[in-house]
């Protein structure tokens, strides 16, 4: 293509077409996702509390640097409590665990107790 007017025409049209296709897509969002949301609410309902408890613990650990023994007990109690209280199938529980780790952004392979251990090292 060497005709500048043609390039301009192609350019302007492409930009409008591309962005208009995105608009079409976005206009469908509210309906689609409001339907999706209701399902999610049911599925994920019990999760937040667990996450919250762990987060509080994590923050407490990070801020107060309490001794490792306390934290370890806390984790043990927490784990046991959750396992006991839910008495549910292993799969879902294990994934909830995984969820917490990721949500806290600890990432890769330092587990919560690893960090606790680290913070409390003398």
């Amino acid at each position: 293509m060497t005709n500048p007017w043609m390039i301009m025409l192609v350019g302007v049209i492409t930009v409008f077409v591309a962005l208009f296709l995105i608009i079409l897509f976005l206009l469908g969002f509210p309906k689609f996702f409001s339907a999706l949301k209701k399902k999610e609410h049911k599925k994920l309902a019990p999760l937040p509390e667990i996450v919250e408890v762990t987060k509080k613990k994590a923050q407490a650990g990070l801020l107060s640097q309490s001794p490792a023994e306390d934290d370890e007990e806390l984790i043990a109690v927490l784990t046991a409590a959750v396992a006991a209280a839910r008495g549910s199938e292993l799969g879902s529980f294990a994934i909830a665990q995984v969820k917490q780790a990721a949500a806290e952004g600890c990432g890769f392979n330092t587990p919560v107790w690893g960090r606790v251990e680290r913070l409390s090292r003398k």
């Binding site: 500048p4 390039i7 350019g11 492409t14 930009v15 962005l19 995105i22 608009i23 206009l27 996702f33």
Partner: protein
């Protein structure tokens, strides 16, 4: 011994210095002044200006490639990331991780304003053609009107690397000058009644929408315009890191260590292309002029399309948000807010202008894809 000293002295830069280099050193100091004291886009203008300064110190060899078994200069190596098109997409990764597409998702029609403002790319493209530039230069000059640094540098590095210096400097300078360039155009093109329009509150956007958006846009734009994939893909991957909620580590690094490091490297090496030999010629002045023209066209394009939307919606859209379609995030959106609040201090256009503002980033990436497809 005299010969000895005179030999050593002849190797200093004082002797080798040309008038052009002296002028460029002055220009770089002015740019540093604008960046530091006037705070015009300092994050890029300071590295660019310093790179320009370093490149115009005679005989330092800091931009020379390797030869005769001697290794190259520092900036020669840093420049490879520009030349190979690596830095701009990775900077877009960081920008994506910093960008909130929520206002755009809440008000999809604002994408049209982001499209209209790309006239700021194509009209100067034509103008440059009739001023005698070859097509590749025209594309590089036009992209200044995209008001988006990494996009301008990416396109220019592929089409016309010789023009990197003036184009990058024009793009970043005018982005900083948006609060001065846009208001007169906005006022001239709108009526008081239009400027007084208050827009309806935006709806809340769910996390799921935010996550699906970058994935979808990548696929759509990627299929429509393969040449835009590096820019759009990186922008959207960064945004996905941000919005997914499970990759905060990556989002954090993309927004800080990675983008800052590459900003330094990009700025210094782009600035270094503005050596006296390359920079001081009539072309540069024309590019600087066309850049201003480009920003004005983009602003006008957005505002005019805003007026069209005002008419179609029977007064529900304030045309002032159209000017934000040029990108220059978030300055252009702020200008919409400021101009609007001058008419009515209780009118809060900021969030409404953010939609066209981020749409402008996508729009200029698409326009860049067209130019690369057609001209590369």
């Amino acid at each position: 011994m005299e010969a000895f000293f005179s030999h050593f002295i002849s190797s200093t830069g004082f002797i080798a210095m040309t008038w052009g280099q002296l002028i460029m050193l002055t220009v770089s100091c002015i740019l540093l002044y604008l960046g530091i004291v006037k705070e015009y886009e300092p994050l890029l203008l300071v590295p660019i200006a310093f790179g320009m300064l370093l490149a115009n110190l005679p005989a330092s060899g800091i931009t020379d490639g390797p030869k005769d078994g001697l290794v190259g200069g520092l900036i020669y190596y840093l420049y490879q990331g520009v030349k190979l098109g690596i830095y701009p997409p990775l900077i877009f990764l960081g920008i994506g991780a910093m960008t909130d597409f929520g206002p755009l998702i809440a008000n999809p029609w604002s994408l049209l304003l982001g499209a209209a403002a790309q006239l700021g790319i194509f009209i100067p493209f034509i103008a440059a053609y009739y001023m005698g530039f070859d097509l590749k230069s025209c594309g590089s000059i036009g992209i200044i009107g995209g008001a988006d640094g990494p996009t301008a540098i990416y396109v220019t590095s592929r089409l016309k690397p010789e023009l990197l210096g003036p184009i990058a400097i024009a793009a970043y300078s005018y982005m900083a000058l948006v609060p001065l360039i846009q208001p007169p155009i906005m006022k001239a093109l709108t009526t008081k009644k239009e400027r007084l329009v208050k827009m309806a509150q935006l709806r809340e956007v769910s996390k799921a929408e935010r996550v699906v958006f970058p994935i979808f846009v990548t696929i759509l734009i990627g299929l429509l315009l393969p040449a835009a994939v590096p820019l759009v893909g990186a922008l959207m991957l960064g945004n996905l890191f941000r919005e997914s909620g499970v990759t905060e580590r990556l989002s954090d690094t993309a927004q800080h260590a990675l983008i800052n490091t590459l900003t330094i490297f990009l700025g210094v090496s782009v600035g270094s292309t503005a050596s006296a030999a390359r920079f001081l010629n009539p072309q540069t002045l024309m590019i600087i002029g066309l850049g201003l023209f480009a920003f004005s066209c983009g602003t006008a394009g957005g505002v005019i399309f805003g007026k069209i939307m005002y008419w179609i919606t029977k007064g529900k859209v304030n045309p002032l948000i159209g000017s934000a379609g040029v990108s220059a995030v978030p300055m252009a959106a702020r200008v919409s807010q400021v101009v609007g609040s001058k008419e009515d201090p209780t009118n809060f256009l900021l969030m409404h202008a953010m939609g066209p503002n981020v749409a402008g980033v996508i729009g200029s990436a698409v326009a860049a894809g067209v130019l690369l497809t057609v001209l590369e």
